[in-house]
Amino acid sequence: MNRPTLRSGTAPAAPAPSALHTQAARNLEFIRSAMERASEFTAVPGWGGIAMGSTALVAAALSGGARRSGWWLQLWLAEAVVASSLGAAAMVLKAMRSGTTLAALPARRFALAFLPAVVSGAVLTFALRGEPRLLPGCWLLLYGTAVASAGALSVRPVWLMGMLLMALGVVALVVAPAGGDAFMAAGFGGVQILFGAIIARKHGG
């Protein structure tokens, strides 16, 4: 705190109004910052991310370039269902372990930020089902958007993971649409496993 200066031969000076003003403003900023940090959604599951990434690697290995067949799409849709279930279960477990609830405001805000891009992804999947080469980039871009949007309300690695997935999606769509499975493995597999490990290590599992 700024203290009033002492002048020789005089009593201690009264605190300058500007110093009190500054201190009060700092206190308000401290309260705001503490509230913001406490509002972060911290139940993003690191171990769940690793499990989700692992299922994506398995799916990428199984798909074997069979993108022209309907089987390819069914395989990845099934993977999405399995991965989502694993992620949701891991999130519930992490929330329970840390004494929070998914009905609390931070979790609701996280879901509201996450879901629009996921719904857009589902609609585009239906619309582009005849153009499977566009789907990997589209999925990565929209899943990355969902993660980055929700990540703004959570711990920093979640936002970074979303941005990286978006970047991979852009590359997959624009630069190399033929390398779909490799991008799926790198994004839904590698990136999720990497950031899952970071979140598990630094943010409580």
Partner: protein, 122 residues
Amino acid sequence: VARRTASASLKAGRTPETRPATRSTLGLDRLIHERLRLGIVSALAVNEHLSFADLKALLQTTDGNLSVHARKLEEADYIACRKTVVAGASRSEYRLTAGGRRALEKYLAHMEAIIAATKAPS
């Protein structure tokens, strides 16, 4: 009231350093004015409850420090603690009481009043 108190204290030249008492500078509630306790109360104001581990991580403090300050807030009935056993491990969960929320609101109003009062002369 807060603004009048702030203005009057300003005229009297009081600061936290010159007026040691339970009500500190400008009539502020000293219990809540301390940084860690202010952090605890602020964090609990936006969560129904937080565990000891959550608070420790959020406020980046030690077990001992957090325990001491949380106990002071408990004694003042600003926060309430509920102890549970989860998977064999003891767990403390804190929540803000109505009195604690009022104290925080009063503190916020006081800070805003100080800002308004110190802006007024210029």
